[in-house]
Amino acid sequence: MERRDAIIIGGGPAGLSAARRFSELGIAATVLEREQQAGGVPRHCGHLGFGWQSHRRIWTGPRFAAQLRADSAALDVRAGHTVLGIDGDILRVQNARGIHEMAAGKILLATGTRETPRAPRFVGGSRPRGVMTTGALQANIYLQNFAPFARPVIIGTELVSFSAILTCRHLCIRPVAMIEAKDRISAPRPGDLVAQFVYGVPVWTRTKLIAIEGRSQVEAVEIEREGSHERVACDGVIFTGEWVPEASLLVNRPKVTLAGNVHGALKTSGACWREGRAIAEKMAGELA
């Protein structure tokens, strides 16, 4: 069985920066990334806002991801490798040829985070097409150049919800409204004013999504606004934020270290990049 000093699960900003730091410190580390290409979530964030903390540049997500790949070109980054499970210091790994095991002195989990989709939010109604998270929307728009709807509603007002507006604009999709159950938006103000006056998307606070209607494609949503129910015509629903760590590998509580967004609350890619480096340094000290 192949054995490495450190194995990093996940080749996003946190995992790749950790790998680079390990190599600078002379530690044999391997990154296992389940997608066919490393880079993580920024690969499908087509808007500007990446790279400042790490490279003192302002790039789009895909450009940033490409730079991270270039920075780790000489390192052992294995794309198309899915970690299926962890048992002690043994990892079960799947790739194009089958399943094999690898052993690690230290394991760093940098598997990121995802948004809460419709089902666990218990939003009722039918199950038409056009219901997705921001992550899936970005992948549709920036990776597939495909517009899944024309007039969606956006659920939530976190920072990522505003990036959903930007993503929509890329293919001329015009959101009907942003809906927020709380009294005020989650992102720092004046996000709502920007949405409303710069992008023409009204923000409705104290508004709850009750149900989704539609046979094949979304036709409308039912909302509750200040106590009364309304039906809003639209052809898509974007569920944003409410981040859940991608932590299914922790199910039998293996001894691993975490870095990046798998940690909990959503941080910027730059913060995750820095955290990856810092944690690699600390782990390197423990390995020495």
Binding site: Q94, R97, P117, A119, G125, T133, G135, A136, Q144
Partner: protein, 451 residues
């Protein structure tokens, strides 16, 4: 395209497909007409996927007979079709003294129905079998033969076997009318005219409407909706058996069960609705289901919900199935297959073949069966990712090869729902956050030839 057949089956649910398979394998020319974009567009797409013994079915009913015949045939053929069987057994759990007092009757009824291994289980043994069950449980009845299967792969396998035996399956083929002239039916509808000597109505929640083509329908469908909540995979470690309630008047009640895909689910509710097609969920009911699950198994606390869904049972005013032949009319009615049709489908097909022989003529000699194993989606049999390949859906470990194959062959997925049912892509905990754009692009490319 061939337009003239011995048999035309209306409805591509599990029942219609099992019937199509039986007649095609008996050597008759058979066509199936399905109104949806794909098979399994009706009741058969959202159920609990339990293989029932019939221990609690009405004594002497046609339903019981079909369930037991269907159960036996499923066990006999499943290996050759690569269909799973999770031998979970079930426990009918009493949560109060009053419910406990009904357990003796349940055992007696099971024995009368020929399910001899059903027995009473005292509280101590119950909690030994299910240590995570709430200590509020009083006692139970053990039903060793109740099992878990894959509700989508089984009918898909029946469809493929029917196709291999020369049957034709038409989708986007709603039947809107028909005429019976000189002993031949001409069915009208979306797919153009189709003629057949015998028509079999297996239209599920539309059964009474389709029946009106032949006669004033002797039954009226009132769809009975059932909602479900599906928990993430770790939950399936907490419960081994199918946890059934002591039945109330109308239905089997809410069941806690593992799925063949390694999840744990609770449901279904029983709500009469007027909508025949779209099975909607509602927040209050989902909340209730979830809290009921937590009451039964407190350790579920903190485990995520992966999916919510609902199904519509084709219920009628009759307790039993309505299966009968109209001699002289070239018609067989298979209606009101309410809540046990997945189990009973192969048995219903046997029964329908019997009606055919009695009323419409002999069956040609059966040919040597052609077996059409389907891809396995469950962890209890080998899955493609284990042999390598590019995983596209990371929650359910679905490979690109599986997705591409589901879009090829004699019965490619007709829509995204059909693709999900054939592969489980996008049905895991992230519900498509990671892979849906990719999977849908593969779908568009394969089906419409567009990048």
């Amino acid at each position: 395209m061939q337009r003239s057949f011995d048999i035309a089956v209306i409805g591509g649910g599990v029942v219609g497909l099992a019937i199509l398979r039986r007649f095609a394998m008996a050597g008759l020319s058979a066509v199936l007409l399905e109104r949806g974009a794909d098979i399994l567009s009706g009741a058969s797409k959202g159920n609990s996927a339990l293989l029932h013994t019939g221990f609690d079915a009405p004594a002497g009913s046609l339903e019981l007979a079909c369930m037991q015949a269907g159960y036996a045939e499923y066990i006999a053929i499943r290996d050759r079709l690569n269909l799973p069987l999770v031998k979970s057994s079930a426990l009918v759990v009493a949560w109060s003294e009053e419910e406990g007092s009904k357990l003796g009757g349940i055992v007696a009824k099971a024995h009368a129905n020929g399910v001899a291994d059903v027995r009473h289980v005292a509280r101590e043994e119950l909690l030994r079998i299910e240590p995570q069950l709430s200590p509020a449980a009083k006692a139970a009845v053990l039903v060793p033969g109740e099992h878990i299967i894959d509700a989508w792969s089984a009918p898909l396998a029946y469809a493929h076997q029917a196709l291999a035996h020369g049957a034709v399956i038409l989708r986007h083929a709603e039947v809107t009318g028909g005429e019976f002239v000189n002993g031949v039916w001409t069915l009208a509808g979306k797919a153009g005219p189709v003629t057949a000597r015998v028509v079999i109505n297996a239209a599920g929640n539309f059964g009474d409407l389709v029946e009106a083509i032949a006669r004033p329908s002797p039954f009226t469908i009132t769809p009975r909706r059932g909602q479900f909540v599906v928990f993430d995979k770790p939950a399936s470690q907490l419960v081994h058996t199918i946890i059934l309630p002591v039945p109330a008047e109308r239905t089997k009640g809410v069941v806690l069960f593992r799925t063949a895909f390694g999840n744990l689910a609770i449901g279904p509710t029983a709500e009469d609705v007027t909508e025949r097609e779209v099975a909607a969920t509602d927040t209050a009911t989902l909340e209730k289901l979830k809290s009921r699950a937590l009451e039964m198994v407190p350790a579920l606390q903190g485990i995520g919900v992966n999916a919510i869904y609902a199904g519509l049972r084709p219920a009628t005013e009759h307790k039993d199935y309505v299966i009968e032949a109209l001699p002289g009319r070239g018609w067989i009615t298979v209606g009101g297959i309410r809540s046990t049709g997945l189990t009973a489908s192969l048995g219903i097909a046997q029964h329908a073949a019997g009606l055919y022989v009695t009323h419409f003529g002999a069956l040609p000699n059966p040919v040597e069966p052609i077996w059409t194993p389907v891809p396995n989606l469950t962890e209890v049999r080998p899955r493609p990712y284990m042999q390598g390949g590019e995983i596209v859906c990371h929650c359910e470990w679905v490979t690109r090869g599986e997705i591409e194959r589901a879009l090829e062959g004699p019965l490619p997925a007709g829509d995204l729902g059909g693709l999900k049912r054939r592969t489980r892509a996008m049905m895991g905990r992230c519900q498509g956050f990671n892979c849906s754009a990719h999977v849908e692009a593969i779908f568009r490319e394969k089906i419409h030839g567009a990048a």
